[in-house]
Structures are given as structure tokens and as C-alpha cells.
Symmetry: C2
Subunit: 544 residues, 2 copies
Amino acid sequence: MSLSQVLNVCPRSAIAGLGIAAASSGTTSTAAARRSVGRISTLLLSSTLSSQDTTRRNMSTSPCAYKQCITLDNINPAIKLMEYAVRGPLVIRAAAIEKELEQGAKKPFKEVIRANIGDCHAMGQEPITFLRQVLGLVSYPPLFEDKSIPEDAKKRARDILSGCKGHSVGSYTDSNGIEIIRKHVAQYIQDRDGGVPSDPNNIILSAGASGGIKVLMSLLRCPIDGKTPGVMIPIPQYPLYSATIAEFEMAQVGYYLDEANKWGLDIAELERSLNEAKKTCAPRILVVINPGNPTGQVLSRDNIENIIKFAHKEKLVLFADEVYQDNVYEQGSKFHSFKKVMMEMGAPYNQMELCSFMSCSKGYMGECGIRGGYAEVVNMCPDVKAMLLKCISAQLCPTTIGQACMDVVVNPPKPGEPSYEQFMKEKNAVLASLKVRAEMVASTFNSIEGFSCNPVQGAMYCFPQIRLPEKAIEAAKKAGQAPDVFYAFQLLEQTGICIVPGSGFGQRPGTYHFRTTILPQPAKLKEMLDMFRAFHEKFLKQYK
Amino acid sequence: MSLSQVLNVCPRSAIAGLGIAAASSGTTSTAAARRSVGRISTLLLSSTLSSQDTTRRNMSTSPCAYKQCITLDNINPAIKLMEYAVRGPLVIRAAAIEKELEQGAKKPFKEVIRANIGDCHAMGQEPITFLRQVLGLVSYPPLFEDKSIPEDAKKRARDILSGCKGHSVGSYTDSNGIEIIRKHVAQYIQDRDGGVPSDPNNIILSAGASGGIKVLMSLLRCPIDGKTPGVMIPIPQYPLYSATIAEFEMAQVGYYLDEANKWGLDIAELERSLNEAKKTCAPRILVVINPGNPTGQVLSRDNIENIIKFAHKEKLVLFADEVYQDNVYEQGSKFHSFKKVMMEMGAPYNQMELCSFMSCSKGYMGECGIRGGYAEVVNMCPDVKAMLLKCISAQLCPTTIGQACMDVVVNPPKPGEPSYEQFMKEKNAVLASLKVRAEMVASTFNSIEGFSCNPVQGAMYCFPQIRLPEKAIEAAKKAGQAPDVFYAFQLLEQTGICIVPGSGFGQRPGTYHFRTTILPQPAKLKEMLDMFRAFHEKFLKQYK
């Protein structure tokens, strides 16, 4: 029995998982992370050992100084494999540099610029006033007496509290969320989709989109004909998917996005990937991220129709990660929800199962820390849905404040209401500024030697390709790092700019990329891009 | 290959899980739940089938009307097994009755009394003013201008915001939580434990206690010598544990609490249970809930010392569920944390691994919906802790408002601060009233024929034993329900009182119990107990 059998993953995914893990961890400068890479390599080696050997290894002495019950050798192997590059070793190093700066260390820069994560408020974006008024009211009801708070905010807060038992956000809610908020979500979806109906009973409120993605993926974790269930994900992908697949011991089935075609989905590539995967696992889920993370593309309606047809033909359950639905910048680009397209295509497509995910963390609101989100689960067999609801009930309920936040996002001030103008002004200002920054980032990168970069049509990221000189690749090898990771560490140490190397998301072998957010405020972003250019020129000179 | 092998659980736990599931679901009056029981019975039957048969069954036609990709036959089998009685069929029926009442249906009662769940605010408990002031401030910072908000609340809010990136609760935090809050938690633990040190790096903030329990249990999900990892839990237990064990396909190892000895832990019973379990699985975790849920006991220091010695001898990792640490009522009872006792016992016990869990949902604050909590992870090998932190990073961070709530709980107003008096008055009023209610519930039940009930020393629940007449047991059999479930449904339909039958928590075969909270406000609680007595007398007459 091989390691992959022990882990109940198809060998392909086990190795792919290790690849990503090794690539993103193999790069750290901290001792702990280096040890963890050692451990992963040991695991990789052990994949050639017999089952008995593996068992014996599990009981071997731990490298830990303590003599404890829990050692690296007897913890959940899936957790050892899992990686999440957005918070990986580069970010750990960035935090350490911040502490060094605080303690007065001298560096060629004054601060760390965290361009590694889509964390809007951390980068200086102001919260939307109306949203925070409602959160303030539900948390601290004496605020209802405050005459400076507009009536429409009070109305929203009153409605939310009326859905809370004992009129308090301190009480548990139904596990799928407060009914009136689920109704508002359904109405929002219906309006967004030009009247295509949405059922509040299909809405599950969750802690960010991640909570919903995780529970729905867990539901589909069942061997089919003795084969490991497979999840098709884009490469490059948002690493929540690879991490969750690893944690659930499912099989990761990557399909490459078409970089030459603005990171679109190529149906022939979906077919190639699926056929390859079918040899070793049973693909069940097709994940599409639109607008794309980390790639920033916005899919055309045509592309979406073809994806739906493909999923139907292959009996795949569609997971549409649509958390960036408000973040569309490029002239001519438009967000089309999978739900709307599927429903408008008519039978048999309008009967397909679809899970669509949304969040309070992105868009114009950027309320990441509040942890609000929802999943819309379309055409799911009622008996299965009952199991899903049972499964989330043990975690009691998503946070009420996150639910309240989602409520405001789906039920914002309407024309004629007192807060409408200010709300629209704030919302539009954020989105307009993001549009400017999206263009600034892409055009700057395209003007740097060795960079090529698709337009940032939507979302909050840019994922340029960089050509690295041979000597830099050799230097990376010597340092025991993947070349893109080597590059990112050099950038961090010399400029304080923290990006995520492409290997954290996946990329075609032999190509190198990185993800940066477009979130630093305009002046800071300009400064960052100037430093980036100067660094790159120096880097090229050094390794020419 | 048997079902238990397919599910990767030891046969004992698979059957135990099914037992609990069947007992608590087999009782419902809703069609959906009845179908689910049918499904569970089918699964039970299939445990005698060969692997090939099982695989074939997985692909068989679903009973669902749709022809969908996802059917009851191809979802995660662990989710099918999982049950969570606190939100089970009785609660679903209670919600339906509430809707019927709203629509004007005539019943022998005016309202449903939800005594099934420890949901304080839902039962009319008022939030603590100081706590909500801080939550209001961090959510809606213009409140800092409000002169009616005391300075100490502003100080707390300022400290929390200083720990948030961009000074906004809308930004992501470190995955283990905001550093300054972890420091406050460590200080709180240290003060609580008479100076025994606590390290902020051992604190993981989580979404309620449940979030922490789940992730730590997941970490230990690793076969040992080819055996399924086992988790020892009290019977009766809080069903989060059985549900999580089922979800993670670990083995449930129940040990009976000693009802004759105020629900204390009997070391001989721990040994019996462990030795029995070792035949089929590898026990790794010992869960102790103190004060007890659903049993309301508060463990003596002596008892805790013996449990620690047992865990050390058997190399078990201690999970101390201490969410009710503020809820101790009985004269002479005192909360002793496992951490303090373990540390004071000296070597080798003070080097043992311990995970202790706390929550904002219970105590005097009862902020269930806010989802704040923490785990303190003591003596964990640093390499393993690094894996734990990596594993939580993909879920980004616990809700900031939940973290802020935890901060207030561990860092309340101090003597001399402007809010101190009001805070103490509110806190003491809640705890004093709970103490009165704890006594009222236990003494009333003990005065009812056929009831016997241990004192409610702590927590928020009472778990009386009821002797049911033979004829009632026969009637239950005819109705296809477990006797305690039959009783609970009769109570609900005739009085509107919603309790949870003992089978949802586990009980010695042939005994019948139920759990009720002590949370209805005093007048309502008296009314409830009067109705309960009248119902029981009628029930006895009917089935004599």
C-alpha cells in the first residue's frame, strides 16, 4: 500500500499536493518552516515504502525535544500536506521584518507593504458608513436613541433584531442563518439575475465564503466506485481549494487557465485534465472562480455557457466562486452569474446542481474580519439538503454580526432613502479607485523588462508572468528555493513588498509568476510600483 | 471489507454512532426525518455486505425525485451518520408548532418554551452593558465621540482596534487571533489560576469553543498502528463531541458518568471503558466537561487529580471543556481548572499536553451568536503547533467581533474604573438568578413522582432520571420511538415545553433521562415547572 492509499488520495494529487507544499515552504528562512519541509520530504520518500514501514514510521521517535503524546509522526497526515501560501513562509517573514523595524532595525525601506492578501481595510480602505451604522445598532441597541443615525440604518437594524431570538444578536440563530436575512439574500440574487427566482431555503449563511465552500466540499467527500472523489480547480487557483482538498483527502484535479487568452477557461483543457484524472480518481466537482483569483479575469457569457455544457456532459457539480462579483473594472467586461446563465439556457441545464458563493470580505465593502458570507445551493435533492443542514447544525450558527453585515450588502439603501446618496458615493469611490489601480498595476508591470501581464478585468489581483535570468534560477537552486520564491524573498528583504509567488497558486512548469493585490492606496501603490521596478532592474543586472 | 472499514471507524463506534442516530431521529414526526432514519437503517444493514455490494449500493438510484449528481447514496457517509440532538427532530417540531401558533392554531398552550438549548439571550437574559458598549465602539467608531459611553469601555475598544490592521475590525487578523487579545486571555488564565503562568502563544482564538475543539480533534485524526484513533467522551455527553467524532470518522469511546455520585468521574469506569476500546481502536483523547453538560456537576479537585493521573498513565491527551467555568452555584462547589491542578501536581504531570476550551456563549455573558472563544494549548511540541497554525490559516481568521467579545470577558472593568460597579451588578445578578433557578429546577423535579435528579452544581442544565411506566414504554415501541423520545414529544405537543431526550446525550441502557436548561426567566420557569408536573401526573395516569 502506497502513501497515497494510506492518505486515501489518488497518487497524482498526493504528489501534486507535495509539490505545492514543497515549493511554497521550501523557501522560508525560518528554522521551524525548514524543519517542516524536511518532514514533507520524508513523507514524499515514504510514499515508496510499504504500509508496514509507514506504520512503523508513525510510531518512531519525534524530532521534538519533549516526550509528548502528540508528535509530527502521529498527527493527521492531511494537515501535514496542506499548505496555504497566502499566509505562508513569506508572510511569516514579513511579520518578523515588521517587528524588526519596530525595534529600530535599519532596512533599505521604512515599512512592509502587504500586497499578499486581499485585505482592503488593512490597506487603508475606509468602511462603508451605512454598513457600520447597522452593525453598531445591532451590537449596541442604545444607539437607536442617537438622532445622528439615519432612519434607514435603524430600519435595517430593527429588521435584523426582529429575526434574532430575544431580539439580541447574542442568541443563536438557525444553523443556515436568520430567515429574514436569507430572504433578503434571495431577493438580491433575483434582482441581480434579472428576475430569475431564488429561494431563501437554498441560502446558507456562512463565515465568509470559505465556511460554505468547506462544508459543501465535505458533503461530496465520498468514494465513487472505490475511487477518491476529485475536485477540478483552476491552475492558478486560490489556495483555499488546494488546502481544503488536502485536508479532506480528496483528489486535486488542476486545469490550466489560458494565459494567452486573458486567463479564460479553455474547454479542450478541461477535457484533457478530466480525462487524465479519470484514470486515478472520480472527478465530481468543477470549481470556477469568476472574477478570477489570482488571475483577475472576468469570464464571458459564452465561456460560461460552454463550461456549463461541459459540466452537464460530465456530471460535475459546479462550484461558482463569485465573491468578486462587484469587482469588475475593464470596459466591456460584465459579471454574469452562473445561476443566471444556467437558468437562461433552459432544460436540461437549468436542472443542474450549482453551488454559488459570496462574501462580505470583497466587493466595495471589504469587511474581511467580520466573516460574513453565503452559499446558494441550487437544485439540490431535498434529502441531501436535509443532510447538509444536519451537518452544519453541530457548529451551531454563523456569527450574527457576519450575518448582519451580509444583510446590509444584499439590502443597501435604496433611492429615496436618507442614506442612499452617501452610500452610493462611498461605494462608487471605492470601485472607481480600484479600477484606476487595476489599470495602473497592469500597465506598469507591462512596461517592466521581462514582465508580461494580462489586464486586471476584475477582482483585486494581478498575476504577471516574469522571465527570470538563468543565473537567478541557478542562485535559487543553490538557496534551495523555487525560482519565483527566491525572487519574492529578495523583493521582500530589499523593498519590504510582500507578494505571493506563483507556485503558491500553481503555474505551468517552467513559468514564473507572482500575485500582488491592487489594494495599496493610490499614492502608496505608485511608490510600491516604483520600488518594484527599481528592484527588478537591479535584480536583472545582478543575475545577467 | 465491512462498513466500519469503509468508514474508517472501529466497528464499535460505527454501531454506537448508529445507535445514537437511530435513537434520536427515530422519534420524529416529520416525514423528512423519518426518511433519514430509513436511510440509517439501510446503512446499518449494509454493514454486513461485502465491499463490492457497498460500492454498488453507492451507485444505485436515489430515492430523490430529481436525477441529480448528488444523491443520498453518494454523499459523505460520515455526514449521514452524524447527529446533533440539541437541534434534532424535536426542535424542528418545536419550530413548526411556533409557526402554527403564529398562524392562529389552537393549542393547550400559548407558546413554545425552548428549554432545549443553552441560549441565554433567547430566554430573555439582557446583554452585559459594558460588553456591548465595547462591541458598539469597535463596529462603529464614531461612537467614541459619544460622551455617555464610559472611558474604560473606550479604552478597551481602542486597545482592540490598535491590534487590528488599519485600525478596523474589517481587516483579517492573524489566524490564531489578535495578539493583544491573546495576551489578555493569557493574563486572565494566569490570574484565574493563582499565578500559574500562561503564554499568549498557546492561545488560539476561535469561533466559540466549538471551533477550537474541532480543529484540535482534527489534528489528532491519525491512525495509530493501523487502528482508528479513539476519543473518550463522557456518557451523557454534549453532542458536539459525538457529531465531530462521526464527521472525522474517529472512534467514539464512551465512559459512563457516575449518576449515583453526583455525575462524578469514576476512575474504574474510565479504565473499563479504555480497556474495552483498546480491542478495536487506539484511544488518544480524553474529553472531560467541567462543569458538566448536560449533567451540571462540578468536579472536585481530588477527582481532577485522579483523572490527570489516569490520562498520564494511559498517554491520553486531555481536552478540558471548561466553558461553564463561571457557572458554579452549589455551596461548597468550586471550579478548578485542569491547567492549574496539573501544574500544581508537579512533574511529570505538569509536562502533559492539555487543551482547554472557553467561550463567550455561556457564563454570565451568554453571547452565543457572537461566536467568540479560545483554546489554550499547553505543552504541545512546537513543530506540531506550527502544523496546527498552518491548518487554521486556510480559514483565514475567527470573527473580529467574537475576538473583541472574548477580550471583554477576559479583561472586564477593574475596581476603580467607571464601569466597574454596574458591570459587577449585572454580572452578579445573572449568576445569582441562575443559582436560584438551578435550585428551583432540581428541587421541583425531585418532588415529582418518578423523577430523581442530582443537584445542579454548575453549568446551565439539569439531567433528571425518569422512571417510565411499562405501558408508556410499550406505547413508545408502537410509535416507533425510544421511550424518552416518546415522552419528550408528548410533553412538547401537550405543553409546548421543548427538552432534549437523554438518548441525544447517551445514558445507561434501560434508564431514561432528559436535559432541560435552567434558562427561562424565574416566573416563566416556575410556570414551566408547574406545567411539567401537571403533564407528568397526567402521563402517569394515562399509562398506569
